[in-house]
């Protein structure tokens, strides 16, 4: 094993976290055991954020089952959807509330910067498209909250959408507040799920 491999491994595992004095968050990647799809994760002793790819077909199926039209389900499926789990891992002996606002996050892809597409952005689109209320309610609560405040032990699951085409590589700057400080960290080398059509029994 050469030094170049080790150095690249270090580069893949460690990332810069600009907040002074905070415990540095470490980025890792792998295959999510439940989803059997790639994930990218940012974590330290006090927080973890995991982004798990969702195949476009999974989103088509989920939203068509909630009475979205094929056209609207397709729009969602083509928006680079990730199952997102954000946790406040601090405990009662060292409690530290955590807050984030996705509007502060920055997506970098192909030399361009952009923001996340939040559930409020989608809500406006669905209202204009006159999507039925039950579908809009299902969509709203299936999405990761745009802003959230977590007490120790709190966490959420939800879909987050990066508004990129399937199979597009990107980086994301994640911003959160904890221990009275703002933390910034980059997760590099993320990739939107490709638009493949797997065996339905293979992916849950």
């Amino acid at each position: 094993m050469g030094s170049r491999f080790v150095l690249s491994l270090i580069g893949a595992l460690l990332l810069t976290e600009s907040a002074a004095g905070g415990t540095a968050a470490v980025a890792t990647t792998g295959i999510d055991e439940q989803a059997k799809l790639p994930y990218w994760q940012l974590a330290n002793k006090y927080m973890s954020l995991r982004l798990v790819q969702r195949l476009p077909d999974q989103s088509r199926g989920f939203f068509q089952a909630r009475a979205f039209s094929k056209e609207h389900a397709e729009r969602i499926a083509q928006s680079c959807v990730f199952q997102t789990v954000f946790k406040n891992l601090s405990n009662q002996s060292d409690p530290s509330p955590l807050e984030y606002n996705m509007r502060e996050w920055v997506v970098y892809s192909k030399g361009r910067e952009r923001g996340m597409k939040t559930r409020e952005d989608w809500a406006t689109e669905w209202q204009e498209a006159q999507v039925a209320q039950p579908s809009r309610i299902a969509f709203e609560w299936a999405m990761m909250p745009t802003r959230q405040a977590y007490e120790p032990g709190d966490y959420n699951w939800g879909m987050s959408m990066f508004n990129l085409k399937p199979d597009t590589p990107f980086d994301v700057k994640v911003v959160w507040q904890q221990h009275g400080k703002t933390h910034n960290a980059m997760i590099k080398g993320i990739r939107c799920a490709p638009d493949i059509h797997p065996d339905p029994e293979e992916y849950q």
Binding site: L13, V26, Q41, Q133, W141, T146, P152, G153, D154, Y155
Partner: protein
Amino acid sequence: MTAKRARSVFLFLTLIVMATASVAQEKPRETLPPVDSPYPAPDFELQGEDGKTYKLSDFRGQVVVLNFWATWCPPCRFEMPSMESAWQMLEGKGVMFLGVNVGEDEDTIFEFTGEYPLSFPLPMDRDGSVIKAYDVVGLPTTYIIDPKGRVTHRAVGSRYWDGPHIVDALRALLKKN
């Protein structure tokens, strides 16, 4: 860098990854965070999937565990068995559980309870108006309401509701009031 040194660095990094993964995969904690200052719980009246009507203020004098959930929400599904288990422990002892389903119909909930048997009431917030009256931004979120009708705790994400820490906290809230 020698091959031996490279192997040591690789081993060290592997340990870091394993430690990080174990932190991320740990089970939900039994935390029950108190709200900064207790406030009156917004009242509501909803039809349950059992056809009965449930009004929050009818449970004044009891501790109410008010859970907002949906069938498709993985952490909601995860915590339901422990919620049922806690309900079995506390039913008739001054603690009420209300699992408010958000945006789904009787058939969907009925199908769900075939897989996850639940015996506490499941009121249906079909139009999402009740969840909006609370400051919920993600599912599941659970509020603890004291016998005086005040929200005292809020838990975001799933919990082991039948864990001793939470069960004791619910009992203590009952005694305190």
